[in-house]
């Protein structure tokens, strides 16, 4: 196998993965979450379960990614709106801990809604 073969192989796999997600993955659920603080903006895959700790002006916020969803577990804000918001999984969904200035939003390849209101 030459480099070119590997490239083609990688490419074919990537194509299968993309097509699988496009046609068999739920069109509503996002693939990534973008977590934004006053200092940084980072993207995480929703396919890998993990706990994320970020810092804001009030202290540390703890976020959890599990089974393709994300939520605030703990945050040093007075009213805990962010925690009560619960799990987010749908593309276009946004949530925030406003006092601690931590924002999360769910993105993906085929967003069904441009905005979600409640």
């Amino acid at each position: 196998m030459k480099t070119a073969d590997y490239l083609i192989l990688i490419f074919a796999l990537a194509l299968i993965y993309t097509l699988f997600y496009r046609f068999w993955g739920s069109g509503e659920n996002g693939q990534y979450v973008i977590i934004q603080t006053a200092d940084e903006k980072r993207q995480y895959s929703l396919q890998h379960d993990q706990d994320i700790y970020v810092t804001g002006p009030l202290g540390g916020s703890h976020l959890q990614i599990k089974s393709g969803r994300v939520r605030f577990v703990e945050s040093p804000c007075p009213n805990k709106v962010c925690i009560r918001h619960g799990w987010l999984e749908r593309q276009g969904a946004v949530s925030a801990c406003v006092p601690n200035q931590v924002m999360i939003n769910i993105t993906g390849d085929n967003q069904e809604y441009d905005a979600i209101i409640f």
Partner: protein, 382 residues
């Protein structure tokens, strides 16, 4: 690179690739010196796919969020280059933060804070020029709503504690509410001349919480249009205004169910439209088993009880914002007359039993996602 030459190389690739390795002609030294034919072909293929992917994905959607007005401002801009869109969003972030400071009723040292200081002492005040357009529209809307939308109930809202960062623990005493109600004068009584507020000796506090977000969104959309941006959504914590389209399709908005996870209905926005919702689940607390929310009826001083949520669609965001509050307070029996007076046509109201009332024009906008699970009443226009 032209597509025709790509097509040719692809055919070549298929030709080469379909032969068994042993049958392949040995590569000439000339070709060996650069890249092998197969490597070339592979690179061309990859380039081709990357290029075509760029062509088909030529959606110039820029989406960005920032925090202002105590919520997330989520802006989507379609059809201009990313740098231009981002520049406009950065400018709006500054403006939203300035507006929030200027219109905050009891924090900082903005224009409204200073007005409230004087009004709280029962003085008469001249409205500074910067606030006059805001007052003009708010007073007009308050009159039309028959006082159900009333920014002059600031003292009562403060007594409930919904204006603080921390959620309230218990409701104010009955006595306290009655005392504040007895001193209450409406914005219409207060603001009878264009640039004057006459408190008539009453301690008054103004709170534009049911309106300022809509008013700000209108200003922000006007700014985008000045910048030559015709396709955008400004979503402030679930209340939004959208202009134009998302390229080939209209903007698509999902309405979350007020009591369970998932989307209740979808709205496609075809032209300039604002969608505002007032709900009893937005800010609330429980005390001795009873739930209290933040939408206070100016007539009673208590949260309005007959409604779960109201969604209003209107071209003007400030009108939609104020109307959502007024119709929530008006409730399932009386919302139609208030809607008519406020010149609002598109209304969805979910009452305390979970029944959904729609105005006939609203029915055209809203597609329910699981319509079997709730009662929908299309109300005839009053």
């Amino acid at each position: 690179m032209h597509n025709s030459s790509l097509a040719k190389t692809r055919r070549e690739y298929i030709h080469v690739g379909s032969m068994a390795a042993s049958l392949r002609p040995s590569v000439s030294a000339k070709e060996e010196s650069s890249l092998s034919l197969r490597a070339k072909v592979a690179w061309i293929l990859i380039l081709f796919i990357i290029l075509t992917a760029c062509q088909t994905n030529n959606n110039t959607l820029t989406r960005s969020q920032f925090l202002a007005f105590g919520t997330i401002i989520d802006i989507s801009i379609y059809g201009v280059t990313k740098p231009r869109a981002q520049q406009a969003i950065d400018e709006l972030e500054q403006r939203f933060k300035q507006w929030h400071q200027a219109w905050h009723p009891w924090q900082g040292n903005g224009d409204l804070y200073q007005l409230n200081q004087a009004l709280g002492r029962g003085e008469n005040v001249t409205i500074p020029p910067s606030l006059q357009p805001l007052f003009q529209q708010a007073t007009e809307l308050s009159k039309r709503s028959q006082g159900l939308f009333d920014p002059a109930i600031g003292t009562i809202i403060r007594a409930w504690g919904f204006s603080q960062d921390a959620a309230p623990v218990k409701p104010p005493s009955d006595k306290k509410i009655k005392q504040l109600l007895s001193q209450h004068i409406s914005l219409a009584e207060l603001n009878q001349e264009p640039d004057q507020l006459n408190s008539q000796g009453h301690p008054v506090q103004l709170d534009f919480g049911a309106y300022a977000k809509g008013y700000a969104i209108d200003l922000a959309i006007a700014y985008l249009q000045q910048q030559g941006i015709d396709n955008a959504i400004i979503n402030a914590g679930g209340d939004l205004r959208a202009i134009g389209r998302h390229g080939e399709r209209p903007w698509r908005i999902g309405i979350r169910h007020p009591r369970q996870p998932g989307i209740l209905a979808a709205i496609d926005i075809e032209q300039d439209m604002s969608v505002f919702t007032s709900g009893d689940y937005e800010r609330n607390f429980s005390y001795e088993g009873k739930n209290y929310h933040h939408i206070i009826d100016p007539r009673t001083g208590y949260p309005a009880r007959q409604t779960r949520s109201v969604t209003v669609i209107h071209s003007n965001a400030a009108t939609a914002d104020a109307a959502a509050t007024a119709l929530f307070i008006a409730g399932p029996q009386h919302w139609q007359e208030i809607a008519k007076a406020m010149r609002v046509q598109d209304v969805m109201l979910i009452d305390a039993q979970g029944q959904i009332q729609l105005s006939p024009t609203m029915q055209k906008h809203v597609q329910f996602t699981e319509s079997g699970s709730h009662t929908i009443i299309v109300s005839q226009a009053p």
